[in-house]
Symmetry: C2
Subunit: 332 residues, 2 copies
Amino acid sequence: VKLSQLGEFGFISRIETGAVVRPGDVVRGIGDDCAVTRGRPGWLRLVTTDLLVERVHFLRGAIHPRQLGAKALAVNLSDIAAMGGIPLDAYVSIAVPTNVPVEELDEIYAGLKLLAAEWDVNLLGGDTTASLADLVVNVALTGEVEEDRVLYRSGARPGDTLFVTGTLGDSRGGLDAILNGRAAESDAARELVRRHHEPRPHLREGRLVAACGLAHAMIDVSDGLSADLPHVCERSRVGVEVFEAQLPLSPELEAYASAHGADAAAFALSGGEDYVLLLAGEERLPAALAGSGTTVVPIGRVVGDGRREFVRRSGDRVPLASSGWDHFRSIP
Amino acid sequence: VKLSQLGEFGFISRIETGAVVRPGDVVRGIGDDCAVTRGRPGWLRLVTTDLLVERVHFLRGAIHPRQLGAKALAVNLSDIAAMGGIPLDAYVSIAVPTNVPVEELDEIYAGLKLLAAEWDVNLLGGDTTASLADLVVNVALTGEVEEDRVLYRSGARPGDTLFVTGTLGDSRGGLDAILNGRAAESDAARELVRRHHEPRPHLREGRLVAACGLAHAMIDVSDGLSADLPHVCERSRVGVEVFEAQLPLSPELEAYASAHGADAAAFALSGGEDYVLLLAGEERLPAALAGSGTTVVPIGRVVGDGRREFVRRSGDRVPLASSGWDHFRSIP
């Protein structure tokens, strides 16, 4: 069996078998944005980890090392946000080609520490090692969330509205600009590239959504809406309808797409790395958050049967294909 | 500044600056075998993480994938052992070249899960991603230890005896056999290679040493005695004397060394990857552990001045040079 046939999530389901041998304290193991174990009274402990590999997740020449360090932490903060949690302590493992100057490493850690300080996160440990080829950064991050506020991928109910906490497709637009040599071509392109390199973890949004008590399921959009939404469908055993006309697009993405004939809706649907939160909850959720500074945008609804549909502006209904990023399929 | 000039531990000291922004719950940050934070009443929480990189830590052709998976966990279990702790939950990040067969990955996880089950450790999460060059495995591991039993690198006192919990140099002997094409040449070589590929975490030894109340400092021997002992000296602000005649050598290492003219004492002093525990404590510690099945072997003593000496069989005293493994110096 080839990995490219099995796919990333096919492989992950193989890992789950026999993974928990001491179930007492485990609330959720493999299969959500964070692992969840029992913590101090009334609270749950969260752990997440993400690995960034040179030439797969980033190009050393394209991203500033300060951005790289911050992004390595941000993608983990986003996983804590998706549970409605508060981040606590980070552990950073790094494998470094020996030709990397110390100053570049200093910048990676400077970026990481800046974002860590912004969110009150300690850097408590890690591992440093050599690499003969690519620079590799792994961050493991702990956090916590109240037992009565935690949100999982499971829990979405038929009749729920689907929301996102920010615009979709910007990161993919930035990547498109980088790959096509247009990164500095316009203000819109520059802003999209910045969003690609400097994702903002939606921790505040996650806390507010969890606190309001009107959401039933949450996940962060890391691999793309069309790849991440199926996880909610599977874990919640529901279907979904997503409306193209409702996908929130930034003015920058619309300007970039119209200037270069790019498909903004396709970027929004399957682009990945937006790190906004996707949630299912009650229709009145936006009203409950009014005045908080956090906006949640409805993009579709949860249905009771198994269908996963994308409703085009034309009214055509097409299957919501999982066309987002899959590490074992997307790389040849 | 080049990394090779700064060295691995020179770089780590740069990372420590500004790493802790929320000190309330932090007992130990960067600089011990595990990070230590406050846990449930009477207990401390431990976290450690270790990154293994192909061609730096292992050769895919030389180590069986099942051994690789187990070793990736074992080196982290060893860090928990060095604090006197109990391991809890593991999080595994893996970057996989897409030509690696799924069956090889299955074997990596099978080895990891077998060792995890042996020590009652859950596999609760991780990350899977592609790599364009090397296979990379990072394990983050949590654990806990009683507040009144935890052992740090600091705490060694002048007059303490230095002990190790097992033979030294076997892993380096195994590596020597692999690198010189002698891995299958004799029973002794085969056994040394096995010990190199299948390090046994000294968790039971760590618990017993911590429980007996007679040890003052502990560390695991991962980079080599001559590289790890200076960490105890620095954190405890003491000096040490180590006696060549007392270094415990296995019959297999002695047989291999005499057959091939290898320097067994040099392997024992600076070989690395033995994953035995090194501790400083009261002279009567071995007597207190008699009958437990755990043996601790005295190899030297702690002194009040700053000297770090290696006393040869001849009686000559030479500086205990930190000739162990340093990722940023040892790789050209």
